[in-house]
Symmetry: C2
Subunit: 391 residues, 2 copies
């Protein structure tokens, strides 16, 4: 599939044997929007890119994997700047026209001389594919994550190409995930930002692997401007179509992240209904998603639903009547009217727990707040991966 | 060691092959105090015992393992009452003079007929030891937890005997742990309650295995009244001595719980200093203690300290300057002045990460709030144990 953004996937010298960097050259008509982590200790590249995008039209992106350049102090910031400078000199643009993104281990300085030398010497051909880019930004991901989609608005063919990485440390607010999305339309800056925020909140911010929120997460939406003549500000239906299609892509990417979550063997779909308000629904869904006990039970295909109620009862500042709660697991009602349900087929429930997708449905019958979230189970493989990451 | 409380450890019929119940007969002069879980869905036995202890002088305790009788609705409450009734008939006392405690799987009804039959038929000799009791209340504990200690107040020998259980689901506010402590002094009810609250807050409430707070946790302090003549209300020094010694016992029991935490291979001592206030210090210490990423890194003896700062940065409603933070791991300063420390011996740090006890010290230099907490690492064995608990 054709792309307006040009891509170079290459070895920048952080990882020993794999490609570990991507440079993207944006087409001239491109608009770009960025949402990032809410971690208070956002990494140097995140801080710098947020500044650059405010002040200049973005022309180049530089992405590296293997080192997050996070918690690296003023030296880390200097290094991020040096990367932008190097790219700007190489391609004869302003420093602020370059954005940088990093993912990998936290707290180690970039091997900056290696990186600068590599960029200096390299001949950029910009003939890599989005798949190549998806592979180069991987950390503990088992496979590259890419989705392409076309659809029509009127007679015009709209194209979405999206890649992401992110296996662990995923939590609402996009812990350790990077995503780059190109759409081939022209769309005004304000609306593009609104669009990105809206789709992120309903996809990447609705997944959690382990409740830790990274310092580096970023989602970039590039509107290449190739197709003009659709006024998305005025044509609400066209905007809705665009939003719906991108949302489908980012939701599918989010599902890919969860099913490739570190050591993940199952995806857990959590649906909290009728909480007192949506804030409480979110707190409850997140607490369930991050419970080690619930995640391990589901890993073992064990319908140990009591742990879900135990978790609900242990959340400070929320208070729900146990009499009102309806708890379903994979569609089986297991708790209602303050008491365990007796009349379900426990052997078919047990069988359903072997499924790849597990559904937790918690109706609190106490208001109108709802929230849904996808998480992964907790396996021995998660422990293996995460107990030997830096060393 | 002599005990005033008489003990019968026996098979009540919940577990297939092991002893799974304890009956304790309190001496006549005994006072008793109780602290319990703050889980909003406290189990039926917890609710009932709290009511009974308010209204009557306690004479008997009945404890079972293997089933928590939690989230079991009105039938669960009826069953808890039936247990008290049965004991009260057996020993010719009032129903409210009996307290019941349960630990084990949540959401299943007690096999109440089995239990009642068993108590009916059983001849109680009350010749078991505290060690026998410690074994009978175990769930996934690998070994029984008991501490005995004597010390002098003036010329009088004070004796503490304490047992507990609790391997997983441990979190401040005592998730899934039970503890029974006897001291051989006479002490007024009010002061006994104050004493129990004070020592629990500084021991059992300072440990966390997995951040889940159980529905059943209870700590019982029995003052047998054997030794009278010390006026703990007036003699502040005697009270302090008593408190210090019980605290030492409960802190040591807490350490036993952590080092026997489900699949635990290491104990992690977390010390958060100089937060804006103690509430924030507690939130931060707890967040670190419950981070899967930090726990797995430490399990793998990996000094991946970046994950600690990432966690701190991700906590909502707290805000600390990264410039002020001092982070030490096993005594090695790893982060200071907003930047990773460079001048430590990384090979000795790595070696120290093999230790059984790991120390995380986080000085926020922003106020006077402090909090300390002990947690365990997260191992494959934890996953194995918890993915196959009910089934």
């Amino acid at each position: 599939m054709k792309s307006c953004t040009l891509i170079e996937s290459f070895k920048i010298g952080i990882k020993k044997s794999k490609k570990d960097a991507v440079c993207m050259k944006l087409s001239e008509k491109s608009n770009i929007s960025l949402v990032t982590t809410k971690n208070k200790f956002a990494a140097a590249p995140v801080q710098l890119s947020k500044k650059h995008i405010k002040n200049s039209k973005t022309k180049y992106l530089l992405i590296n994997s293997g080192n997050a350049n996070a918690c690296t102090g003023s030296l880390g910031m200097k290094n991020a700047k040096k990367c932008c400078q190097k790219i700007s000199k190489k391609f004869n643009c302003k420093e602020s026209e370059v954005l940088v993104f990093s993912t990998g281990v936290v707290g180690e300085q970039l091997p900056i001389n290696k990186i600068l030398n590599c960029i200096e010497k390299k001949i950029f051909k910009f003939n890599s594919s989005w798949s190549d880019a998806a592979r180069a930004i991987m950390t503990t991901d088992k496979s590259e994550k890419i989705i392409k989609k076309t659809f029509k608005i009127g007679t015009k063919t709209i194209r979405i190409i999206a890649i992401c990485k992110g296996a662990g440390m995923i939590e609402p607010n996009m812990a350790t995930m990077l995503s780059f999305i190109e759409i081939n339309v022209q769309i005004k800056q304000n609306l593009l930002s609104k669009l990105l925020k809206s789709i992120s909140d309903r996809s990447f911010n609705r997944i959690s692997v382990d409740g830790d929120m990274s310092t580096n997460d970023s989602v970039v939406l590039i509107a290449s401007g190739e197709i003009d003549g659709i006024d998305f500000n005025r044509n609400k239906q066209a905007y809705k179509q665009l939003e719906k299609n991108i949302l489908k892509v980012t939701q599918d990417l989010s599902k890919k992240i969860i099913s490739d979550g570190e050591g993940s063997t199952k995806s857990i779909y959590i649906n909290v209904m009728n909480a007192k308000n949506s804030k409480e629904a979110k707190i409850i869904a997140t607490a369930i998603a991050n419970s080690q006990l619930i995640k391990t039970a589901i890993h073992g295909s064990d319908p140990n639903w009591g742990r879900i109620l135990v978790k609900l009862g242990s959340i400070y500042h929320t208070s729900y009547s146990i009499e009102k709660i309806i708890l379903k697991l994979n569609g089986y009602t297991l708790f209602k009217n303050g008491t365990p349900a007796a009349n379900y087929n426990s052997s078919s429930l047990k069988k359903s727990m072997q499924n790849k997708n597990i559904e937790i449905f918690l109706d609190l019958c106490s208001g109108k707040g709802s929230y849904d979230l996808i998480t992964s189970d907790l396996s021995k493989e998660y422990v293996r991966l995460n107990s030997a990451y830096t060393s």
